[in-house]
């Protein structure tokens, strides 16, 4: 994508968004704080569960907070990048997508950059804070291996969530409004990744590996970081599989998106 200047364009669009937000620093700070607090409520819910149990299917509070931090950070990274896909149904319904088809940039690029949501940075900051607490509480050892695994996992996780967002939003090209279906996989996926896989039935675990590979966004990275063996018996090498799985998932998602664009018929006006 770099060859058509999209990277520079992305930088300029984000820069413009930052400058416009800074015109009203008070409301911008308020929206950042609000999204920070909102994201914190979900962690409160996870932590509250441990007022009833000492461990959840063999996982301690610290380890589950680590899972939550990994899942949320990867999710919110993808939300900052492609969260604007939520607006695709409006673009299709109003017919404005037609103008995007005429411009010399990829439609996907135009949709995700139409209005960069800086308030999502508040959620990202909150999830990084949870991640740091989780790393400490789960006694993750400092060192190059942990650092490398963390970076690889977050990038892989964010790409997997972004792919889920792209693939499920593309449903809009056939069904007009995809938001509910998208939400089931994106928000539902994040919610699922916040808990150990052992919580779920075998059929759900299978889906989380082969259909929507959420197991690679938080569960395997958390196993690798804490040095645990998978109580469900998966091979240890899967810990590093995130980026490979993410690449395959993204390729499939982009293929679905491309098929959707070709199937798109304007609603007309």
């Amino acid at each position: 994508m770099a060859d058509d200047g999209s990277v520079q364009l992305y930088g300029r669009l984000v820069g413009a968004e930052v400058r416009s937000a800074m015109e009203y620093p008070g409301p911008f700070a308020a929206s950042l704080l609000t999204s920070f607090a909102i994201a914190a409520l979900e962690v409160v819910a996870v932590a509250a569960i441990f007022s009833n149990v000492d461990e959840l299917v063999g996982w301690s509070l610290g380890e589950v907070v680590l899972l939550t931090g990994l899942a949320q950070t990867a999710f919110h990274l993808s939300e900052v990048a492609v969260g604007q896909l939520d607006r695709l149904p409006d673009l299709v319904r109003s017919g404005r997508l037609d103008t995007y088809l005429l411009r010399p940039r990829r439609v996907l690029f135009q949709v995700v950059t139409q209005d960069v949501d800086l308030a999502a940075l508040g959620k990202l900051a909150q999830s990084v804070a949870v991640l740091v607490v989780g790393l400490a509480a789960a006694d993750v050892p400092f060192g190059p291996r942990s650092a490398a695994l963390l970076v690889v996992s977050l990038v892989g996780g964010a790409v997997i969530y972004a792919a889920v967002w792209i693939a499920t939003t593309a449903v809009t090209f056939w069904l007009i409004d995809s938001r509910e279906v998208s939400a089931a996989f994106t928000y539902g996926g994040r919610q699922m990744s916040m808990y150990p896989l052992g919580v779920f039935a075998p059929s759900v675990r299978t889906l989380a590996h082969y259909v929507v590979p959420l197991a690679f966004t938080a569960y395997y990275p958390a196993l690798g970081l804490t040095g645990r063996h998978d109580p469900l018996g998966a091979p240890a090498g899967l810990v590093w599989a995130g980026p490979g799985v993410a690449a395959v998932t993204m390729a499939v998602a982009l293929a679905i998106w491309g098929t959707g664009i070709r199937a798109y018929r304007s609603t007309g006006a």
Binding site: S31, T34, I38, L41, E42, V44, A45, A48, I49, S51, N52, V53, D54, E55, L56, V57, L175, I176, D177, S178, R179, E180, V181, A183, A184, F185, G188, Q191, M192, Y195, G198, V199, F200, A201, V204
Partner: protein, 306 residues
């Protein structure tokens, strides 16, 4: 009249000083009932509004199917979580709720979320206030709050049929959720009606905030998240530490889902009448607050639009 004041300054801010019109039989009639309305006609208007809202929502079939899909996905995820919690306790119940009791609340919540409309599906009033169209509504010889309450009754009635019954049926048939005891059914119905009243009260206040802030959608987003947590949708409130649970239960959000679930599962505390009275108190307080806010807004308000 609206047209007279606004002509020629399209797209700018306009200040209106409106008389307190709703319900006083104003001669400037733009609404569906011509002339001075007598009492039985007024009731008939609201019944008709509710009926039309019911029918209008019945046209959103695709959205309903998609929403049911999402409800089912979240129902399965949360069922797994609460079942794992009880399993990790060796099966010991939490605040009187065993595994099946908690699972009952999960599927009840998935069924109720559309009925009490936490996600502000079709936020018409918010949009009409934002766009300034609400001025026209205020000139109608009907009460603005009662009008939108009637719309919500029609909407909720439709959602009970298509959004409430299917998730509860899935929960009962596939995940061992329980139906309420037969003697509790009337109380459950009362609790659900009160839940809709409380939820309307909350949403009306959020929409009405649009009279003062530029865009009420930000407030609605915040409300949505706090509501999801406070109602016991994120996790059932009995799973919270006791002091925290007591504090969350003091808020109105608990009346919309947790309150119904308590009645349904027979775990009201300290007693059923007290629980229903608490719900009713919130409904009355929120509807009264909505009236107060509306009357302030209609006396002197800046309406946006062009």
């Amino acid at each position: 009249m609206a047209e007279g004041h606004g002509a020629g300054i399209a797209g700018s801010w306009r200040e209106w000083s409106l008389p307190n019109v709703p319900g006083d039989g104003s001669p400037h009639v733009l609404g569906p009932v011509p002339g001075r309305a007598v009492r039985s006609d007024v009731v008939r208007v609201y019944v008709e509004v509710a009926r039309r809202a019911f029918r209008r929502f019945a046209t959103y079939r695709g959205a309903t199917v998609a929403a049911l899909f999402t409800n089912t996905v979240f129902g399965i995820l949360l069922t797994s979580v609460v079942a794992a919690v009880v399993r990790s306790r060796g099966g010991a119940p939490i605040d009187g709720l065993d595994r099946d009791g908690l699972v009952t609340q999960i599927w009840l919540g998935q069924g109720l979320i559309g009925v009490v409309n936490i996600f502000f599906r079709t936020p018409d009033l918010t949009e009409r206030i934002r766009a300034g169209d609400v001025v026209v509504d205020l000139y109608r010889p009907v009460d603005l709050q009662a009008w939108w309450a009637a719309v919500d009754v029609g909407r909720a009635g439709y959602e009970v049929l298509v959004r409430f019954i299917p998730p509860v049926a899935v929960g009962v048939l596939l995940f061992d959720a329980r139906l309420p005891a037969l003697v509790d059914v009337p109380a459950v119905v009362v609790a659900m009606v009160l839940a809709v009243a409380v939820s309307f009260g909350l949403r009306f206040l959020a929409s009405a905030s649009g009279f003062w802030v530029l865009d009420a959608r930000g407030i609605e987003r915040v409300l949505l998240t706090v509501w999801l947590f406070g109602s016991g949708m994120t996790i059932p409130l009995p799973l919270l530490p006791d002091g925290f649970e007591a504090a969350v239960r003091l808020l109105p959000f608990a009346a919309t889902i947790q309150g119904v679930s308590d009645v349904w599962t027979g775990t009201t505390s300290p007693s059923l009448p007290v629980a229903l009275a608490g719900q009713a108190a919130w409904a009355v307080a929120l509807l009264a607050a909505g009236r107060a806010v509306l009357s302030r807004a209609t006396r002197k308000v800046v309406v946006q639009g062009g």
